[in-house]
């Protein structure tokens, strides 16, 4: 770690004391003072800029240079000629994309999945946090928190494998359970209609406990005096949740909702790709998986970049719209 490497021992304190009087004349000589102060600031703080150089280079190389490479969406990319030397084709790639019947399906799949996900995974952590907040017994509260939080740490590969095993028509626990009620085994992974439910509810299973933590923090920040006076005035628990807790976590909830909508088009490649099979592909092919297949499996860089660019632009647009609407309605937004 370079930041903890050995550095020369600082000069003794006596030296800085002799340097101290030199700073005093500054207010008296404002014209020369500003430049002197700037020079002094640089002498004292140049190491801050030194520290920042490598991380800044990282952001330029891995974030901003790729942004410039999106020009190949408007070109016929040839690896030999590079992104800048390739032939311009204008909006040709986008025309091809929008004319492709696959595109409508892709867009529909992506948007449906994303909105279903928000619909389910936005309110449930709030309910979980409100419920946990009512519980007084420490051990029960801690147990529920610990257990619901744990799935967040399981990898996507494992979560998908678990899903397939648990839902397996032959040996899975869900179908065994359904069998007790006389229901015939359901081939969850084989029937395309189940894909979205599986995606969304495994996501809720995995992240509800984690997301609830944020709301728990917001609830802990509510002034207890509010609850006590409401209690003395005879408010029931439900009334206190409605009139004290909910308004209390409102700003947090709005921000989480904005971030969720802002994530619409960036919905998880990792899980979708693993849940895909030949049977559910009609509903499970979303823009990120399509970009991966077009770009890296079929090696059509220009088209994949065009799809990706379309995705990023729509995403940014959605985020700005939701942020604007949220600020109008609730006065809370991501930025002022």
């Amino acid at each position: 770690m370079p930041t903890t490497a050995q550095h020369p021992i600082p000069p003794p304190a006596a030296r800085s004391r002799t340097a101290e009087p030199a700073r005093r004349p500054e207010p008296d000589v404002p014209r020369r003072g500003r430049r002197a102060r700037a020079r002094k600031a640089w002498r004292q703080h140049w190491q801050l800029y030194l520290l920042a150089i490598v991380p800044l280079a990282y952001f330029v190389i891995f974030k901003y240079i790729p942004m410039t490479f999106t020009v190949i969406a408007f070109k016929d990319y040839s690896p030999v000629r590079g992104p800048w030397g390739s032939e311009w084709v204008g909006l040709h790639n986008f025309q091809l994309l929008f004319a492709n019947p696959v595109f409508t399906q892709l867009l529909k799949n992506t948007v449906y999945l994303a909105f279903y996900l928000i619909l389910a995974s936005f309110p449930i952590p709030i309910l979980l946090a409100l419920a946990l907040n009512e519980i007084r017994q420490g051990w029960f509260k801690r147990t529920v928190q610990m257990v619901t939080y744990a799935p967040y740490f399981i990898s996507t590969v494992v979560v998908v494998s678990m899903t397939i095993l648990v839902l397996s028509p032959r040996a899975g626990i869900v179908n065994t359970g359904l069998g007790l009620f006389g229901v015939d085994p359901i081939n969850f992974m084989g029937e395309p209609g189940w894909f979205r439910h599986i995606y969304v509810w495994t996501d809720v299973w995995q992240t509800a406990g984690y997301s609830a933590v944020i709301y728990m923090a917001a609830l802990a920040g509510i002034d207890p005096a509010l609850h006590e006076s409401a209690r003395i005035d005879g408010a029931s628990r439900l009334q206190r949740i409605r009139h004290i807790d909910l308004p209390g976590i409102m700003p947090t909830a709005v921000i989480i909702l904005i971030l969720g909508v802002g994530n619409t088009m960036a919905i998880g490649f990792e899980k979708t790709y693993l849940l895909q099979n030949d049977l559910n592909l009609g509903l499970s092919e979303i823009i990120p998986t399509y970009v991966y297949k077009t770009g890296l499996i079929n090696a059509d860089f220009s088209m994949a970049t065009a799809v990706g660019l379309f995705n990023s632009v729509v995403n940014l647009f959605l985020l700005l719209v939701v942020n604007f609407a949220a600020k109008r309605v609730t006065g809370n937004g991501l930025w002022r």
Binding site: T3, H45, A52, K63, F153, A217, L296
Partner: protein, 310 residues
């Protein structure tokens, strides 16, 4: 805030207790508790099922006789899983990626978050805006791939360590911590003693920032342990595969091992394949789930630090 906490009031003043516990409230609490018990069961059920199956015999698993307790207790699946060379290689690789990746990521995150937290760092607002913009808009998969390719990182370990080294969210967490938890007076005192910025960072700021360093390290380590996307995109050489890709190939692609032409051997492989999956799930998730109870507290703190600043 001068009002006494109610738990204390209740003990002394029975009248308050009467105000508090109405029949409706008691009913409400029963419903809430029951709901949480159901939530607990739903979250635990699949995990218990997987663990129970992994300790059962292959025949019991294939016949669907296992529910929440091992049937025909057997450690055979674990024996096969832990002697598989691919799994061991994957474990080894993932350990390298987690340790090296975390070291690189935490170092770089501190290196940018610390200057950004200092008021004397000229241009910090512009830089912060530029960083946050990368959260909102990105060049996408292919342009990033082209950069990694140009740098010659394809099919090397660097591809998993460098292109995603810094998380903007983690920078925000670290910056917020440095800016709010290290008082300006400490910086001034260090400067009066003649310490340079680097020396201040090393001797004053970092020792006081252990909680946030732990949070960052945990976040990056768990990300490295659990992700598979970068490996899928950048790696071709099976010797470099992290555990998650090995798992994906074994758990999800139904890859029959080539070379096992012997029919009897193949049948045995198929019979075992199912129970092996359960054991692999347990083996791969165990390290994280074992340390999780000890780190959950830190994680929570990190989430909250981030939430404060938004």
């Amino acid at each position: 805030m001068s009002v006494l906490p109610l738990s204390r009031l209740r003990r002394r003043n029975p009248a308050v207790t009467k105000v508090r516990e109405t029949a409706g409230d008691r009913m409400f609490m029963i419903v809430v508790t029951l709901m949480l018990v159901v939530v607990l069961a739903v979250v635990l059920a699949p995990i218990v099922f997987i663990v129970a199956s992994s300790f059962s015999s292959a025949d019991a698993v294939n016949a669907g006789r296992v529910s929440f307790w091992p049937v025909d207790f057997s450690l055979h699946a674990y024996h096969v899983a832990l002697t598989n060379s691919q799994v061991l290689q994957g474990y080894y690789n993932s350990l390298i990626y987690a340790v090296a990746g975390t070291a690189i990521s935490v170092t770089l995150t501190v290196a940018i978050a610390y200057p950004l937290s200092r008021k004397t760092f000229y241009g910090r607002n512009v830089i912060m805006t530029l960083l946050i913009f990368t959260m909102l808009f990105s060049g996408g998969l292919i342009p990033t791939y082209m950069v990694v390719q140009d740098l010659g990182m394809i099919n090397t370990r660097w591809a998993l360590l460098i292109p995603n080294a810094i998380g903007v969210w983690q920078v925000i967490i670290a910056r917020t911590f440095f800016a709010t938890s290290i008082p300006d007076e400490l910086h001034e005192a260090a400067m009066l003693d003649g310490a340079s910025e680097l020396r201040t960072l090393r001797s004053v700021v970092l020792p006081l920032s252990k909680p946030v360093l732990a949070v960052l390290a945990l976040m990056y380590a768990i990300f490295q342990w659990n992700t598979y996307f970068d490996a899928l995109v950048y790696l071709k050489d099976t010797d470099l595969y992290p555990l998650q890709i090995v798992l994906r190939n074994m758990l999800l692609l139904n890859a029959n091992r080539p070379g096992s032409v012997d029919l009897a051997q193949q049948m045995e492989g198929l019979r075992l394949a199912n129970v092996l999956r359960y054991a692999l799930i347990v083996v791969s998730s165990l390290p994280v789930l074992l340390i999780y109870p000890f780190i959950a507290r830190h994680f929570t703190k990190g989430v909250m630090v981030g939430a404060v600043k938004g």
